[in-house]
Amino acid sequence: MRTGQKKSSSRSSLMDEIKRRFSTWALQHAQAFVFSLGQLIRNPFGNLLTVAVIGISLALPTGFYILLENARQVVTGWDSSVQITLFLKYEIDDDSAQGLAHRLEQDPAIAMAGFISKAEALAEYQRLSGFEEALRVLGENPLPSVLVIRPGVTIATPDENEQLLARLRQLPEVDSAQFDRQWVKRLFALLDIIKRFVIILSSLLAIAVLLIIGNTIRLAIYNKRQEIEITKLFGATDAFIQRPFLYSGFWYGAGGGLIAWLLITISLRLLMQPVSVLSELYASDFQLISLSAKNILSLMTCGVTLGLLGSWVSVHKHLREIDPS
């Protein structure tokens, strides 16, 4: 009857014992895996509710993440069109300014260096500012030559643009240099804030998922109090008793992940049309990016991990309290 009899010391019987134990272990895992799914399916409404709550909790941060990814996609396009305006020193004449422009265009970091002569600058300024009279009184053109630099296409990050700007400032001919699209920088800063917000939100919702699953498992444990007592009396180990609850947590997490995936896919479908109208208006070929396979995998991994963790904590806290009587 008992299986724990003295094992013979011969190697093959030890191997047999290990094999037998392993197959028992695997069998019991398979049983708990299927059994826990069956238990969930037997109470479809209540469990669907739980899974839906988990799904929404997972969908929120995932949705924000996808929106952020899309925003980054848009901004990356803009960033390469950042321009740097170089105001040259007043004593630099048009010829040497043009020479500098040609020199700068050789720089691989620079895609284009446009030259605006003093006269052109004055004409434009007069046209835009309305200070025509005042400028005429001055008699002399007070404006410096200007070079408009467009960073090379290979340069995308704000950091690299910043380096380029610093380098250009070092040039002896240059009086001052500045981005003429400071707001892109501000937008990046804003996106950074939103990114941090998404991380905080994700952490809070992850805790919420843990609590939901933990509480659901706690209730399941109390509902199965009698069963747990009986199985303990008939010699079930803690591992045996835990298994179906842990797998329930697994199923909750996996189900929540699936629902989150579904919700996001539907939401993106709904957004796709208006977004393409908008991007057409901007003459852009921007396409809304959806969840990649990698995203889906990490979403499911998160769901399953939270499910297992939540049920593990709950099981360890509450199973000990039940003893056969």
Binding site: M1, W25, Q28, K232, F234, A236, F240, P324
Partner: protein, 225 residues
């Protein structure tokens, strides 16, 4: 099979449930524990099953000194014991078959073995045709017999029953006792707690009587021991 030497059991609240119990039940014997409610019958069974641990003395079950059975080994120890309760304590969310299969599933038997053994056990108690019913659909007597099948399906060396006939009428009680006797005849040591003295006297087995936590020595010993 069961040997108690100067066993005391004091519960955490200070309630002295058993006092200085000396007892020996041989392998393959069948014995009854009788006494009033609160005399310590259940406590005696609980100590044997390691549901509670005795506070003093020595208990040896099936050659194992219970003090040496560590908590982690309790599950393995219990797999050698079958349990019966007054309230059948079947799980109503599954079939009779699954209820009886429970001890085998816990021990990790393969499905083919589980099926064979469950069918044999159900056949033995005459309920094979109810294998796929839900326990709530059975009569009280049938439920109790399912309980018996579950208690013996894993062929334990020792069968413990706490008031197994408490909810049954005399005829069914007698049938249940006879069933226990059959299992005893194939070598299972059987220990039954019961306060139904008339019934257990008719079984002509050893009767261990407890009164206020003490053993009444040979007071009601009739029949073989």
């Amino acid at each position: 099979m069961i040997r108690f030497t100067n066993v005391h059991m004091t519960y955490a609240g200070g309630n002295e449930a058993l006092k200085n119990i000396n007892l020996h039940i041989a392998q393959g014997a069948m014995a009854f524990v009788s006494g009033r409610s609160g005399a310590g019958k259940s406590t005696l069974l609980r100590l044997i099953a390691l549901i509670d641990r005795h506070t003093r003395g020595q208990i040896i079950i099936n050659g194992q000194n219970l003090e040496r059975v560590r908590d982690q080994r309790i599950p393995l120890f219990r797999r050698n014991i079958g349990f019966m309760f007054q309230d059948h304590r079947l799980l109503v969310d599954r079939t009779v078959f699954d209820n009886v299969a429970l001890p085998l599933v816990i021990a990790g038997y393969r499905y083919q073995d589980v099926r064979k053994r469950v069918q044999a056990a159900l056949d033995k108690v005459g309920l094979l045709h109810k294998a796929n019913s839900n326990p709530v659909a059975l009569s009280g007597g049938e439920q109790q017999r399912v309980g018996v099948a579950r208690a013996v399906v894993h062929r334990p060396a020792l069968l413990l029953a706490d008031e197994p006939t408490g909810n049954l009428d005399p005829a069914l009680s007698w049938d249940t006792m006879k069933l226990f006797e059959q299992f005893n005849q194939v070598g299972v040591t059987v220990l039954i707690a019961s306060h139904d003295l008339d019934l257990i006297k008719r079984m002509h087995k050893r009767i261990i009587t407890l009164r206020q936590g003490r053993l009444l020595t040979n007071a009601a010993d009739i029949g073989q021991s």
